[in-house]
Amino acid sequence: MAAASGLVRRPLRQVSGLLRRRFHRTAPAALQVTVRDAINQGMDEELERDEKVFLLGEEVAQYDGAYKVSRGLWKKYGDKRIIDTPISEMGFAGIAVGAAMAGLRPICEFMTFNFSMQAIDQVINSAAKTYYMSGGCQSVPIVFRGPNGASAGVAAQHSQCFAAWYGHCPGLKVVSPWNSEDAKGLIKSAIRDNNPVVVLENELMYGVPFEFPEAAQSKDFLIPIGKAKIERQGTHVTVVAHSRPVGHCLEAAAVLSKEGIECEVINMRTIRPMDIETIEASVIKTNHLVTVEGGWPQFGIGAEICARIMEGPAFNYLDAPAVRVTGADVPMPYAKILEDNSIPQVKDIIFAIKKTLNI
């Protein structure tokens, strides 16, 4: 299941103004856009809007992007705005940070965030901390983006989730889009933000089409960084997730709904600064909390959410301890049966929800 959505290219079905009839104002039929195209659109619009914005990374220009996310951009904007780099993450991340300090607005692509480890010193020490260290003198308006977390069969060195690592650092903003709307709105906000923003995309989501609301089709469509979204209202349990697992949570919610359990599913959208208020308000309503993430359990996103819930008003409303659903605490194995059991599956989410509801 996991592999299929990434490998199968679903055709873009575009049904737009053609269906609008002349004398009656009917709502346009739903536009379907893949996450890949949404990111592409977002970057394209920001490149057009501000000539200081540029994209650099491996294979982003002439190859159209390793995962085709930057398809067509080099053809449109040329060598000065879309730059192919040698395979030197530490080097080109450093160059990007320098460019941001000097007044440009770079989008630095890591082919996957696993490779960002090669450059992490630049992300943290040169980008994240600088505004603070300089007493507010030097800002670093940079975006680091790329696919994060598990893919399909790419094994231990290519499957790590960096949400907790980057979410740990003050000075960084970290966002994690799930669907196309998230992807476009968040990349645009990230590019316009004057701070270093890490955008954790997901390779398996790139090819997945979603309904694209009319608002999202605007060139000024922005999703605020630091605000979560309630994807599904519910009353019995709050289920919080980011990135691809949001889809799994909605699937679990659909299954449980048939059993009379209504889950409130929250799409975090931003890891840092975390929108704990939305989660708290929901827990106060439902009295139960389950967090879901792809990364490792220890010191992870779920761990932080649980800690903050305990520190705030929602603790007194919990009827049971909060439960975390995470990746297994192992380096990602290659064999399919082992890999499938190393990431949170829908059945694991359902199990956790029932456990916390004592069902």
């Binding site: 030197s88 231990a156 297994a328 399919k336």
Partner: protein, 361 residues
């Protein structure tokens, strides 16, 4: 009595007839040369007074061995391509067909006790370093018979004195740090660049300020080698290894080679280079073809004999592939094993706090 004798004789005769063709070959082997000397391309030298010899002696035995191993690697990679398209192999798969001269020539020039490490395009070196085709293919299909028990996959195969197979590459800064320390401390280290002209989809001219990689060790001497000629690679490797063993410090070897496949199975390999270029290399510089021509033309082997080896290799690959797709996946309860070495058993957390896996070293 006569009947029994006839039966015995016929059994013996039929036994001879069904013996492996090798017996026929042995009889005819007195028609072959035991060894031959070939001219090999002179290596470009950097900071070296002398280089490897410009001739190489090849014994019949060695020639047959190199041919067999190169053909094994070639066939195995093509089988991997097929298995990937049939979805038995998942994730990343970086094939090295075209570069067989490098891995076989390297192994021919060093000892089993020397240590080797490389990048993800490692299947060839795995075979050269002694892993069986079965172990490699079963690892690619993620089965318990794989050399990493199915847990590593294509990029994470290890063997004695072979440290993988690594997925994170390209760190040029780290490379120069390594050059510095190796030279500073005179470490016996051969740095090898398999220059196949492209870094993923980018030609070397677009990524390197200087494409004379053998000179980029700066204070480290280097040589540029024809990576498509297994004998050239062997002689250069011997030379480099001797250089290091004599205490002179590190040395750099650039092997000029070519990969027929794209960067990985998800790269068709023709958006950044032409089919004509690939075909040109294949028809003029294929390492297996070059060795075959050498051996046949100097009576080290016959065309038929080499064809025989081709059949044997083909069978070996087929058997290994069959094993690779029928061997079961690793058992689920081993998911947590091998986190730590030399450790008492402990528990590993699964997708939630109620799912636990035992972890054994």
């Amino acid at each position: 009595m006569r009947k029994m004798l006839a039966a015995v004789v016929s059994r013996v005769l039929s036994g001879v007839a069904t013996q492996k063709p090798a017996s026929r070959v042995l009889v005819a082997s007195c028609n072959y040369s035991k060894q031959a000397t070939f001219e090999i391309k002179k290596c470009d030298l950097y900071r070296l007074e002398e280089g490897p010899p410009v001739t190489a002696e090849l014994t019949r035995e060695d020639g047959l061995k190199y041919y067999r191993v190169m053909q094994t690697v070639r066939r195995m990679e093509l089988k991997a391509d097929q298995l990937y398209k049939q979805k038995f192999i998942r994730g990343f798969c970086h094939l090295c067909d075209g570069q067989e001269g490098c891995c076989v020539g390297l192994e021919a020039g060093i000892r089993h006790t020397d240590h080797v490490i490389t990048s993800y395009r490692a299947h060839g070196i795995c075979i050269a370093r002694g892993l069986s085709v079965r172990a490699v293919l079963a690892e690619l299909t993620g089965r318990r018979g794989g050399c990493a028990k199915g847990k590593g996959g294509s990029m994470h195969m290890y063997a004695k004195n072979f440290y993988g197979g690594n997925g994170i590459v390209g760190a040029q800064g780290q490379l120069f740090e390594a050059y510095n320390m190796a030279a500073l401390w005179k470490l016996p280290c051969v740095f090898i660049c398999e220059n196949n002209r492209y870094g993923m989809g980018t030609a070397v001219e677009r990524a390197a300020a200087s494409t004379d990689y053998y000179k980029r060790g700066n204070f480290i001497p280097g040589l540029r080698v024809d990576g498509m000629d297994v004998l050239c690679v062997r002689e250069a490797t011997k030379f480099a290894a001797d250089y290091c063993r004599s205490g002179k410090g590190p040395i750099l070897m650039e092997l000029q080679t070519y990969r027929y496949h794209g960067h990985s199975m998800s790269d068709p390999g023709v958006s950044y280079r032409s089919r004509e270029e690939i075909q040109d290399v294949r028809s003029k510089s294929d390492p297996i073809m070059l060795l075959k021509d050498k051996m046949v033309n100097s009576q080290l082997a016959s065309v038929e004999e080499l064809k025989e080896i081709d059949s044997e290799v083909k069978k070996e690959i087929e058997d290994a592939a069959q094993f690779a797709i029928t061997d079961p996946e690793p058992p689920l309860d081993e998911l947590g094993h091998h986190i730590y070495s030399s450790s008492l058993p402990f528990e590993v957390r699964g997708a939630n706090q109620w799912i636990k896996f035992k972890s054994i070293s």
